[in-house]
């Protein structure tokens, strides 16, 4: 793949009303020289960096706070990763976990866009060693 080419994943937050089909159709309709693949979480796009960013920008406009994106290492349909070729998919657990978390993150993105003030509560501290020892001693008695 030439240096200026890029593969990107477009991930739609579970709380969004936008569907992967809508994203794919929108990008198809732009008639740019990029490859698009509809997936369960959104879409994958591949092409020249400039075109990919244009397509991403257009897709983001559908739901700016709930459409996320990251670069993908392997090209679309790469036999080493694509399930159609029985490739392994080691990054899927990570993607699944983050996809679940996006419904929380989008609230944060929305609050940041609106300039809402957030109050940061102090995080609970770890138990001191002495206290932990006391608990362990009580249990082991």
């Amino acid at each position: 793949m030439p240096k200026d080419r890029e593969t990107r994943m477009i991930v739609i937050a579970p709380s969004s009303a936008v569907t992967p089909d809508q994203v794919t159709r929108l990008i198809h309709g732009m008639s740019m020289e990029i490859t698009i693949k509809e997936t369960c979480y959104g879409a994958m796009i591949e092409g020249a960096h400039e075109n990919v960013m244009k397509a991403l920008e257009a897709a983001r406009k559908l739901d700016p706070d709930r459409i996320f994106s990251k670069v993908r290492g392997f090209p679309i349909g790469d036999a080493r990763r694509c399930r159609a070729h029985h490739g392994s998919r080691p990054g899927f657990t990570q993607l699944e976990k983050e996809w679940e978390c996006l419904s929380l993150i989008e609230k944060g993105v929305c609050a940041a866009r609106l300039g809402q003030k957030v109050c940061q509560r102090p995080r609970p501290k770890k138990i001191p060693v002495e206290q932990l020892r006391k608990i362990a001693d009580e249990v082991s008695k």
Binding site: F68, K70, V71, G73, P75, E98, C101, V118
Partner: protein, 144 residues
Amino acid sequence: MKVFIVPPNSLILFDLVERFGHEPLSLMGAIGDRVTNPEIESPPINVTLDDVKKGLKYAGIEVPSGIRGRLALWGPLVDQAEAAIIMEEAPFEFGCVGCHRTDEMVQYLIKKRRLPLLVVYYPTNEEEAKVLVARIKEFLEGLK
């Protein structure tokens, strides 16, 4: 500015860094350069012998080759970085789960370089998510 993210394959951190106007340094970019290089065969042979030697810059010879191989990818990203964001207290399946020692070593390299660093915590509710995004936004805007 170039911002290194930990875990380096995180969608959330990658997106937020880019959204707030900086360049995220991610593992996917480094992997992309390798897997599309016709000289490198399919996994698990996508780490070359040269990579393992490059890893020696970041970890001693007694360190397992797997860690050195990973550091050959992550180390140059840390060298390029001008700032870093680390997400802590995440569930075990979040991030690169292959080798925790590499994660620790990378965090050590970041701290050793004394880069502007932000440590955030994995959100478990809406309030924490708002705090996470607000802190990342504030940190990234402060870098400009």
